[in-house]
Structures are given as C-alpha cells and as structure tokens.
Symmetry: D2
Subunit: 247 residues, 4 copies
C-alpha cells in the first residue's frame, strides 16, 4: 500500500474558448447572428486582444452566465476519498469516479496529510495503520469468498478502507462553476487537500484561458477584501470593515 | 419585417468526444488511471470501433451519466420567441439569448407557422398583422422618445412584439441533457417549431457522434414502443400494451 | 382584452422554516442527531430568538447552503410573457406555466408598461393595437378551423399574441435560489416588471421568515456597496471604489 | 466504537402536497388562476379522490414536472460514509452533512455490512479492526496536539477513519428527484445500504403522499418489465424482450 501523489491532467476543453465566450456575450446585445461573426473571430479579423478586453470588462461587472459555454474536463488521481466526497458536493458538474465496489483494493494506495508526513512519529503510526488496513481488507475478502460471497466481497470488505484511500475521478465543469469552485476551495479556510487540487486546476485554467481565469481564485482575489467573518479572516486581505475604516 | 428561416450552426463541440466518454466509463471500473490510457485512445491503439461498441452497450443498459462530459454549443437563428420560451425551460443547459431590451426591432423578422403559410387567406391575414405590429412598435418608440424616455424605449415598446418575433440564441447542452431534449422534443406531440429545431440538432449530433446519438430521438425510438397514454399515441410505434398483447 | 394587475399568492411554504434551517446548520457541526434536537426546537426549549441569531450570523459570513432546505411556492398572475421568459431563465426552481397551446386566448388579458400608461397618447396607441391583436387572433383561428385545423388552431394563432399577453405561473424556489433571484431582480437595473414581482415576493418572504430574508434584496443591500460597474450604478449605494476612497 | 442502526426521520414536508401538485398541473391547462381554485381544493369542494385520480393519470403518461413543487426533508443517521458518498451524487437535492473536520470522532460509531455480521469469523475480524481504527485515530490526534496542531488535529486524524464510519445527514429532495432516486436505489443492483435507506424513505413517502408514490420504486415497478441488460436482470420482472416474446 504505497503513498500516492496528486496528479491532474486536462483531458479536454472546449476549442476556441475565448471566441466562444465573446460570441455568446455579443449575441445578447447584437442585432446580427453570431454564426456570421464566428469566422472573423477565428481568423483574428476581430482581434483576440479586443475579445479578451471585452470579456474581462463584462466579467468585472459581475455578469458571468456566458462563460458557462466553455467546459474543462480533468482526470484526477492521487486524492483521498475524504477529498472526493467534498468535490462531488459541487452539483453543477459531471463526475465519473472509480468504484470501490468493482475495483479490488489489494494494492490500495493512500494519501498522507502533510502535517502527519512532517512528524516522523505521526508518519510511522499512520503507515503502521495502513498495514493494518491492508490485512483487515485481505482477511475479510478471504472469509467472504470462502463463505460463497465472492461476487460481493469487494463491496463489503471496502467498509474497512480509510478516508485516506486513494481514488481517481474524471470531472467536467463549465467556467462559471469552476470560478465558484475556486472561490470556495482556493480559500485558506478550505482543507489542504482540496485546496491543493483547486490551486493546480486554477493554474491549468489560467494557462488555457487567461482572459477569464485571471479573475479566478478565492473570493478575496476578486473582491479585493476578505468576505469572511472577522474571526475566520486569514489576513491576506483586509476585511471589508478594515478596508473602509483604514482609509 | 421579413420572414426568417431556421438556421442552426454548431459553433463548438468537445474534441475527441468518443474517447472522452469511453475514458469516463472506463475510469469507473478500471484500476488504472485513464490519463495513462488516453494516448492509446487517441492513437487508435485501442480501436475506435471497440470504443464505440462499448459505449453503445453501456448506454443500452440505461447507464448514461458519463456522456455528460461531452458538450455541444449551437448558434440558432430563425426561431420565434414562442419557441425560445419552450427551449429555456430545459434547465440543464446554458443560454445566451438576444435581448429585446437592448436590440431595437425596427426591422423585426418573424416566424410564420407552416399551417398558416399553406393557406393563402391565413398567410395574408398574418402578414397584414405583422405590418400593424411594425407600425405600433414604431409609433410607441417615437412617443416614448418624444416624452424623454429614450433609454427605456425599446424595453417598453417591445410589449407589442408578437410571439412570432424572431430571436437568436446560443445553446450549450451536454449529451445527456441533449438526449432528454430529443426524447421530449422530437416526439410528434411537441410543437412543430421546437420539433423542427430538435430534429436538425439531432441530425448534427448524429453526424458528430454516432455512437451515442444513434440512440437519440423521441422516447419511442429508444424503447421500441410508445410510452404515451393511448389517446396521445401517434401510431408510429405500438404502445406497450399493444406490443405485449399483439404477440 | 382588458388590462390585468399583478397578483401573487403564497400557496405553500415549508413548515417550521427557521427550525429547519437551524437544525440543518447544526447537523454539520454537532456530534448528536438533529432529529433528537427537533422537538426542543419546535417547543421553544431552544429559543426562537437564539435560533434566529445563529442563522443570521452564519448567513452573514456567506455560508448559505442550509437555507436550501426551505421552499416557497407562489402562484402568480398578471405578468406578461416578456416577464415570464425572464423568470424561467432561473434554473434552480420549478415552474408550471399556463400554456398558450392549450388555453384559447379569445379574451386575452394584457400588461401595459407604466411608462406607456402615464402618457395618454402612448396608452391610446397601445390599446388600439391590442384590439388589432384580438382581431388577428380571432380571424386566424376562424380561418384555421374552417380549413379543418381545429385541433392546432390555438397553437398556430398564438403567434400573433404580444409579449404583453398576460400569463399565470406557479413557481417553487428554495431560499438560496430566492436570495439569488432577489439579488438580480430587485436591482434597479432589472426590468420594471420583474422587479415589481421580485419586490412583492421579497415582502412576502420577509414576513414569513425574517431571520433569513432581512438579508434579502439587491446585492447592494447585502454588501453595503454597489458591485456594478460605475456607469451602471444607480447611486442608492456608493460603489466599492467610492466607499474605500471616501474614507 | 459501537455499531449504529439506520434511522430516518421525516423532519418536514410541503403542506397540502396533493392539492399543490393538482393545482400546478391544472394551471398549465386552465384559463383561470389556481389561487382562486385553491380554497376549493383545501376544503374538499373539489374532492381529494378526484384530485388523486387526476394526478395518477397524468403521471402514468410520463408528465411529471409538477410534482417538483412538493419537497421532503429527511434526517438520516446510522449510514456509512460509503453510503453518503453515493447519496450526494444525486445533484437535484440539498444536503447538510455532519463534518468529520469539526466533529471529533473519539467515540466513532460504525456500520457493519449484514453479510459480515452473519459470519462470526468475519464479524470478529471487522470488530477487531474497528478497535485498531480507534487506537490509530486517538494516537494520531495526540501526536498532532502535542506538536501544536490542535486546531487541525481532527481534520488530519480523520484520514484513518473507515468507510464504515457512521455519518448523519439532512436531505431535501423534491418528489421528481425522489422518484428518480427510488428508480435507481430501490433496484436490487444498488448496494444493500443505500437500498435499505431508499426503501425506508419510499415507505415514508407512500404514507405521506400515496397518489404519487404508489408509482414509486425501482424502474421495473413502473414499467412492468426490467430495463436492465439481460445479464443484470434479477428475475423479479421479465425483461422487455422476455415480455414481448412470451406472449
């Protein structure tokens, strides 16, 4: 049962994303048909910089529904079941996750929290326990198989697998849902694991579509202040109260 | 105010859609990481035919969530506001629609129902009325502008525009939502206009991604029987009752 | 074809809404089971004021998912099809709307914009046009019926009905979706009609569940500043820039 | 660390649910305003039996959007984290779940699969392992606290908690989403735990609103045949192929 590192691959993304968002915004206020404008967007006859500046300006005023037309699909491995349980709570998204009912976990990988990793005593205790998990899983599978329950042995033995057990998941989100995901999960209040994942996804998104994702991140990055209650503020940005009083 | 024809352009679609759906399905039941399988899917080392057959088989057993990872974006013009009102009731989708508040409708186009078009008397009455609409819109805008309400003149004058008024809309739906859309809107019980639009969209989808969309269409096409109550059945397929009694 | 006034009735709402939201919040951080706490919430053993204060405090820090457990169902009449088209764009909601395909509109009611109502010349022009609509609808229905198209006559004749045509709709939204609806639709940038409707709904919500809806309204009411771009700011609240510079 | 039994309490449900669904259905096809019909529905002037028969008939023809107006809120305890991870994949719902980040699990309860419970050897191995979990959790918390990480000790120690760890959750779903949940989760192909939970929820729903939920259950109960592929059919109902061939 070895430790597993976080790995995120961008499997797919909507082609010509800037042009598509620009076209969708324009269709709302334009008398013509964007399909006729489309070739000019692709050829650069309407310049990319102009498109990016337009999209940025509209986003800043808080009107973001057209960015929904662009989707990103990530394949993620090296996250714990604790983390995937948090992720799938985001409902405006599509998920395909590795099933512990169907995939046997004889060589289960696991995720070890950085704080535990850094303390040798904690790490040793954690790894000892992971061995205990492996034994319990193996023993239970064998007992179940011997009792004629082979077809359901994975399904039942999995009850001993820890939250640390590694899982893999394919995630598709549109840009608006991603921005919301980053708002919550890039915040220092989020758990370290989902934050590491969100930070990495944001980095990929920024590279792919900077006109939109340079506005992305924890809510403070967009607002210029921390919207959390005082007692939760991390200090990176002033709270609104601090901001208005300071001046 | 001229008549306008339906026109649908596919602006964008997820690249490598078959591979992506196959990868998402496989991630659920596979011990490895699909990002590692991905190059073999693209190169054809895992054959396209095999991928398509796998996807078809899973879809037939009713498990369709992985097809959500693939999205289609259409630009549509030449539909009435009556039709767009029906479309936007589909909630698992993203829309950017031309606004009558911002776009002046001095040269408003309109949609004429085929049944009216075929009866010369009906068509003449319809077109005479469209002229009356044009006059009313123009008169009201002028009165409002003269009264100092220029900024809101479109917004208020639009109240005289008919359901027939042409609109343009950019639509993104994932494949699962599209399949549901086709289930309802390709059925002969749907209104002629949204049905014409759905039929055309299905045609495009079939060309792009036959492994999935050859299962698409009204519900009867998938089930092999008509699930509507007897009195609504169109006769193209037997109802379930007829099917089981006939044999 | 008479004019019709806006009327909104609260058909139904989740019983004990404050207790339910409090229970849901508490379940997240509490070792016990809220079903065991529930009788104490209903009896007032845990005081209502304490519950309300707790809910208010959590909402202020931006954590609002538990308010989704409470739903409101409104019946609305006296709105235009222009307005209902805007409403149904809110996707986290359930709608049942009067169909123009099935209900004949011989005595169609309509909505007249206040700005048009106030200018006698505009009002007269508007009402004259509504008579033209009535004639066109009636004539087309008769021609279609005479041509043997009785079953589809409403469906096709409806194409002449104006955006002003009155409609009725049953709407269910949970509190989180309602808060978002008020954020957008109580803003002075929203169209007068949907704003009038949102204001009336907010009034009802405040009466039913003040602990939550005293935080409701346009975004400025919650933020204490206007988040729109400068050129769109109505002046009721300072923009963030003005707020931080003023001090 | 004791074993915990499943317990489901209905915290709240929309009042007058039959009347509300009937009203919503009627508003679609009715010229009048359902708010005016509402008192007659509540008083029984329009008889309950008639309302129930109407709703049943419409549901049978597959038109189910009006049942979305009615919501049920359940409080659930005695389910595993494995089970809650499956539940929250249903996206048209609202959840408030007990957090392992905030609630210390010193006296963690757990769920034991029935198949393991029935085999004394398996049960003993399972329970021995649960003691190992308790020790590991306690040890890790102590080491983390001693290292000055008290505030995050729960969050990190939770990585050793098993899928069997008991959780509590408040769930709100509307009737349409519930029907879909029952379609999937009352099927014999679903895991025993989520099936037990779905069966119990269905029982409660049937008692509260029989006009709708007598149509509820696995898909076979509604269709009269099993829609799964042959190799997955449990035999309770014939497959469609068997059904049509048999006759």
């Amino acid at each position: 049962m070895p430790e597993k590192e976080l790995r995120i691959e961008l499997l797919s993304t909507t082609p010509n994303p800037l042009e598509l968002v620009y076209a969708a915004f324009r269709q709302c206020y334009h008398a013509g048909f964007v399909a006729d404008m489309w070739p000019k967007l692709l050829s650069g006859e309407i310049e990319k910089d102009k498109q990016a500046a337009f999209v940025s300006a509209v986003l800043e005023s808080g009107h973001d529904s057209p960015i929904e037309h662009v989707n990103f699909t990530f394949a993620v491995e090296g996250i714990s079941r604790a983390c995937s349980h948090q992720i799938v709570r985001h409902r405006i998204a599509s998920y395909s996750q590795q099933s512990q009912r169907y995939v046997a976990e004889n060589d289960m990988d696991f995720i070890i929290p950085p704080a535990i990793k850094k303390i040798p005593e904690a790490r040793a205790r954690f790894e000892k326990f992971m061995d205990e998990v492996g034994s319990a899983y193996k023993d239970l599978r064998e007992i179940l198989v011997a009792a004629g329950r082979e077809s359901k042995a994975n399904e039942d033995a999995r009850f001993v697998l820890p939250q640390a057990a590694e899982t893999k998941i394919v995630i598709t989100m549109n840009c608006r849902s991603l921005m919301h995901f980053f708002n919550l999960r890039c915040c220092l209040r989020a758990q370290w694991e989902v934050r590491a994942m969100a930070d990495k996804m944001l980095e990929i998104c920024k590279e792919e579509l900077p006109a939109i994702f340079r506005h992305g991140g924890a809510r403070c990055e967009q607002l210029g202040y921390c919207p959390e209650a005082d007692r939760f503020a991390c200090g990176r940005y002033p709270t609104l109260k601090e901001l208005t009083e300071k001046k």
